[in-house]
Amino acid sequence: MTEPPHAIKLGGVTHRYGKTLALDDVDISIRENEHLCVIGPNGGGKSTLLKLILGLVEPTEGTVQVFGNSAKKACRDIGYVPQSIQFDPLFPISALEIVLMGRLDHLWLGNYSKKCREIARDSLSRVGLEDIDNKPFADLSGGQRQRVLIARALACAPKIMMLDEPTASIDLSVEEKFLDILKELRKSVTVLLVTHDLDVISTVGDSVLCVNRRVHRHSLPMKPETIAEIFSGSHRIEHDRETRHSHGDHSTCEHD
């Protein structure tokens, strides 16, 4: 019997920036259509983990595979949603023009095709923004900007969605809508979501990846104290009992 296919697989990955160790000996595998929240203290290596999977940085040691290919080759299968705060708010671009960037790989010369425009409009309506396609980026609210970036990732027709703190700049009412969007992706897309938001963690994930130089997987639900400790960085991150058990390590189990 063959194993269910892995969407993402990191084997013995270590990454250093100069002498600073960002990630240390990371082994994780994520199955297709799994939904994972990525948590951890600031500076713990969350962004580095995302960048490794996106192929934006090469690991110092170890291998990163996405759908059995190198990360660089597979980056077109990934819809990436960066934080909306990192963009120049005055940049003269419309919502639709941003979403169309998701179709950049279908463009050679001149302008986007009709079909690409249709896909982009469709992506905007999936995040509930069908009527603002011509609005400039500068005139959008924080929540709208974030949703436009999600629509852009959807326009890529991705097999994996990676979102970097998408709820950081939006209010509660928008957050609900955002969670609905994620639920809709449940069946068809692998999701990796960096967040500090406990509500999101409890609603979205199948399990949680804790990143603090080392990466470990915890099943949900997690104890609130554990999460608090992870954010403070004081917790020595290890696999929880259940995960160890499923990996054949029974040392912490009470049964025999």
Binding site: C75, R76, D88, F91, P92, E97, M101, L107
Partner: protein, 296 residues
């Protein structure tokens, strides 16, 4: 009788307030200046919009100053080895493109060192230019005309060159507009979609280099940066889409160049500074207008 040195009226009969149009018909030189001004306005309106939205005005300034190196070298070598084809404009184009590529590659590979390199290229370009001009055989070089521009040096072949380069700049921008827009807005995401974003950034800098070379005759290397940045900055206050900013910037550039020519002809003043000041007045007006009348 001739007017003050360095002005349009230096070799053309002193102006008679009303007959700029008549003078255009009579003096080919004025016609060349006007045509070169019109063609290059289109190029730097388009490229200036990229510069303002991508916030790379300082790179534009470094490229502009490094051009002096190419001008000096071309004068030195053409006089020493009798190379007629090696005009200052050829030297300017080569050095501008070289500076653009060097700054671009370093900015892509080594972000922390970017400002150091920009400063270095700025100064090295000027220093080599001055040395080459010092050692060039023959009569002394009129440095001022390169630094502050001298539209009287515009020849018919300059007009052709300006037209071709402007068409190239606009054509390339239209062909690659969505990609250039994407790379300017979000370089990382573009790379993830399989776009070689580094190449497009370099392409943008090369377009910038060409536009600056077009400005050397008009405003000289020191004032060039103003005409690249000011019309586009004014336009960026009036529109929120890049292509609209480009169209408005081209119109503003055309207005500045043409009115600058007329004013400097009539007022017997050097052309470059007048054009730049008209652009600066436009930018100030839009700022004041926004302060006083914008909502919120």
């Amino acid at each position: 009788m001739t007017g003050k040195p360095g002005t349009l009226t230096e070799i053309i009969r002193p102006a008679n307030m009303t007959d700029f149009i008549h003078a255009l018909q009579t003096f080919p030189l004025l016609r060349y200046a006007l045509l070169a001004g019109i063609f290059s306005s289109v190029a730097f309106g388009v490229v200036g919009s990229f510069v303002v939205t991508r916030r790379i005005g300082y790179i534009a300034a470094a490229i502009a100053h490094s051009i002096l190196g190419g001008i000096g070298a071309s004068i030195y070598f053409s006089r020493t080895y009798d190379l007629n084809w090696l005009t200052p404009m050829v030297g300017a184009l080569v050095s501008a493109l070289a500076a653009a590529l060097i700054i671009g590659l370093i900015s892509l590979r080594n972000k922390e060192r970017e400002d150091t390199i920009i400063g270095a290229i700025w100064a090295i370009g000027m220093a080599t230019g001055l040395l080459f001009m010092h050692y060039a055989p023959g009569p002394g070089v009129n440095l001022e005309s390169f630094i502050f521009g001298n539209i009287l040096l515009t020849s018919l072949s300059d007009v052709y060159a300006t037209a071709v380069l402007s068409i190239a700049v606009v054509g390339i921008t239209i062909m690659f507009y969505p990609k250039l827009l994407a790379v300017c807005f979000d370089e990382e995401f573009s790379r993830l979609r399989g776009i070689k974003s580094g190449i497009y950034f370099l392409l943008l800098l090369c377009l910038l280099a060409v536009s600056i070379v077009l400005l050397v005759r008009l405003t000289g290397i020191i004032l060039a940066i103003a005409l690249i940045v000011l019309p586009a900055a004014t336009a960026s206050k009036m529109a929120q889409r890049l292509w609209k900013i480009m169209v408005i910037a081209v119109v503003i550039s055309l207005f500045c160049t043409v009115s600058g020519l007329i004013v400097s002809y009539v007022g017997e003043t050097p052309t470059g500074p007048v054009i730049v000041l008209i652009a600066a007045v436009g930018y100030s007006l839009i700022q004041v207008w926004q302060r006083c009348f914008s909502r919120s």
